[in-house]
């Protein structure tokens, strides 16, 4: 492609490269990324450093900007579902659900009881799966490589369940407006029950290995603090927001599917530091296990989806739906001009807002703190860039 050129990173105003102080010392810049092990993908951070102390972090985005919103304007509503798989690929089921809900809202499609149960079941499995991967990656970022493999080992069990359910391990494309594209396979619920038992054991093991580890606590406690007001102002949602005390969980406060039928708690942090973000996610996994136990206990019979529409021609208007992914509030906004394809589609990604608070969190810390903060933000870069 001839348009490929290296463009110099643009620096924000008031951002000079050299600053010599009275004692002759200088600040300097370090480019972290786009290929760097701790940025979890292709995020680029321009870090202004004073020795090893971070003075300022400027994230540069767009290294995986794939024009999903533009493409959405040329794909049908149902085809758009599969693109959201590729945004936050660790919450792909939940992203699919968000799109389906927006279509359902627009066209007045109902979901049968069993379909709703499948939705909650799969969403919560997905949440645990995503948090497991995050837990492993967190361990790896902080240097505990074994934790990475333990996290993946547990996650693989859920991935295999998903493969049985919908045939894919990562990009699911499973939910459809009105339900899902298939019923749960035979014996699935039994396997989920087994998994939940194993999960409780693994979570205790995780606590022993990492949560109660002195080094981790030292490295995370009080690092990357974000107050409740700032977190809300930055639009931080999900575990990042809740660790800072933003008491908002779409599942509880704007319930979709049938989340209002299940009992669960929303864990909140008090310090808004890395440790709180860590503990909130661990607590969320336990809450998800709790929800899943209620789901499998009351899993109903019946049809798994409602009558399929001949075509999805969405009446003119604009439609918004919000779901709680593993990272926070995922919003889908459709503008339709009464056709088969959306006129404009916008996906509100939780990571986008969560990352924007990075500079405020990382200032004054060390490079190692920056890594810990990035890790507890649990970023999925394609979700930010879309």
């Amino acid at each position: 492609m001839e348009a490929l050129k290296t463009s110099a990173p643009a620096l924000p105003p008031g951002f000079s490269l050299r600053e010599t102080r009275a004692d002759g010392s200088q600040e300097y810049f370090l480019n972290m990324g786009p290929q760097h092990p701790s940025t979890h993908g292709v995020l680029k951070l321009v870090v202004r450093l004073d020795g090893e102390t971070v003075v300022e972090v400027v994230p540069h985005l767009g290294f995986i900007h794939r024009a999903i919103e533009k493409m959405g304007e040329n794909e049908t509503f149902v085809q758009y579902i599969h693109l959201t798989d590729r945004m936050d690929y660790l919450s792909s089921h939940i992203n699919n659900l968000g799109v389906c809900m927006a279509i359902e809202k627009a066209m007045g499609i109902g979901v049968p009881e069993r379909g709703e149960y499948i939705r909650v079941l799969v969403s919560e499995l997905q949440r645990i799966q995503s948090h497991l991967l995050w837990w492993g990656a967190f361990g790896m970022d902080l240097g505990a490589v074994s934790a990475f493999l333990y996290g993946f080992k547990e996650r693989e069990k859920i991935t295999q369940l998903f493969e049985e359910l919908c045939g894919a391990r990562l990009t699911m494309n499973f939910f459809r407006p009105g339900g899902s594209n298939a019923d749960v396979p035979e014996g699935f619920i039994g396997k989920v029950k087994e998994l939940l038992e194993e999960m409780k054991f693994s979570l205790d093991e995780f606590d022993t290995l990492i949560s109660k580890n002195m080094i981790i606590r030292e490295r995370c406690f009080g690092v990357g603090r974000l107050s409740r007001e700032r977190a809300a102002n930055y639009g931080c949602s999900g575990p990042v927001g809740r660790a800072s005390g933003v008491d908002f969980d779409v599942r509880r406060d704007d319930p979709y599917s049938i989340y209002d039928r299940f009992k669960f708690e929303v864990p909140l942090g008090s310090n808004g530091d890395c440790l709180d973000r860590y503990l909130v996610r661990i607590a969320e996994m336990r809450q998800s296990v709790r929800i899943l136990e209620q789901v499998v206990a009351a899993f109903p019979e019946g049809q798994y989806r409602s009558k399929e529409k001949a075509s999805y021609k969405v009446p003119a208007g604009s439609y918004f739906s919000a779901v709680e992914t593993a990272r926070g509030m995922f919003g889908t906004y459709f503008v339709s001009d009464n056709s088969f394809k959306p006129y404009r589609v916008k996906s509100r990604s939780p990571n986008f807002s969560n990352l924007s608070a990075l500079n405020e969190m990382a200032q004054g810390g060390k490079i190692a703190d920056l890594v810990a903060i990035l890790s507890t933000l649990d970023l999925i870069i394609p979700d930010i860039d879309r």
């Binding site: 794909e75 149902v78 085809q79 599969h82 693109l83 798989d85 069993r114 074994s146 080992k153 693989e156 295999q160 493969e163 049985e164 359910l165 919908c166 045939g167 894919a168 990009t171 494309n173 594209n181 298939a182 019923d183 749960v184 396979p185 035979e186 014996g187 699935f188 619920i189 093991e205 022993t208 290995l209 990492i210 109660k212 580890n213 002195m214 080094i215 606590r217 406690f221 809740r242 005390g245 008491d247 969980d249 509880r252 319930p255 209002d260 708690e265 929303v266 864990p267 909140l268 942090g269 008090s270 310090n271 440790l275 503990l279 909130v280 607590a283 899993f299 019979e301 049809q303 798994y304």
Partner: protein
């Protein structure tokens, strides 16, 4: 419970069409303030006993890794090229689109192009021809594995069950061209 539910490809009993069911009553509105989130305990203050507990915690952590080391039965590795004979994909696994052919080497594709339209990536080209009876039939079902995302939309769209998801996954090639496939072995009927 779930064991008795019909498989997705089986046809469930067709119930007589009813009049549109009446909307169930909306759930009772939840009034604010809602149940507040549970704030977790902050980290305890520094003390000697905490320090000793933490130091002991390090040994407990070492015990976790040691448990894995001691028990080779906890190794979960599946040895892929060696286990090729026994490796079985789950039934719904989506590996690539295949077109089943019967013993007479015939398929059931009618070149209706529903799959072509359903494909979000333009991975399918239905190329038609006219057979001896001057009927429009399938000439070539071009399937570009190189751009296929295995999203299952074409299979859901097909009303004739002419294409399915195959379980093959060993498809790596040295060049890009062999990834463009023609699925049908014969022309349509």
């Amino acid at each position: 419970m779930s064991e008795e539910t019909p498989k997705p490809d089986a046809t469930p009993e067709v119930k007589p069409a009813e009049a549109k069911p009446a909307a169930p009553p909306p759930p009772p509105p939840v009034t604010y303030p809602r149940s507040a989130g549970v704030t977790m305990a902050a980290a305890p203050k520094a003390s000697l006993s905490r320090f000793l507990g933490d130091a002991f915690g390090l040994f407990k952590g070492m015990n976790v890794t040691m448990r894995y080391f001691r028990k080779p039965s906890r190794i979960v590795t599946r040895e892929y090229p060696e286990n090729r004979g026994t490796l079985k994909m789950s039934e719904r696994f989506r590996g690539q689109v295949v077109m089943p052919h019967d013993e007479k080497n015939e398929h059931t594709c009618t070149a209706c192009t529903l799959c072509e339209k359903a494909c979000p990536n333009g991975s399918i080209s239905i190329l038609t021809t006219k057979n001896l009876a001057s009927k429009r039939v399938l000439g070539a079902f071009v399937y570009r594995l190189s751009s296929c995302t295995l999203c299952n939309l074409c299979i859901e769209a097909c009303p004739f069950d002419a294409i399915r998801m195959g379980h093959g996954f060993e498809m790596a090639t040295f060049t890009r061209d062999p990834l463009d496939l023609i699925l049908n072995k014969t022309e349509g009927r």
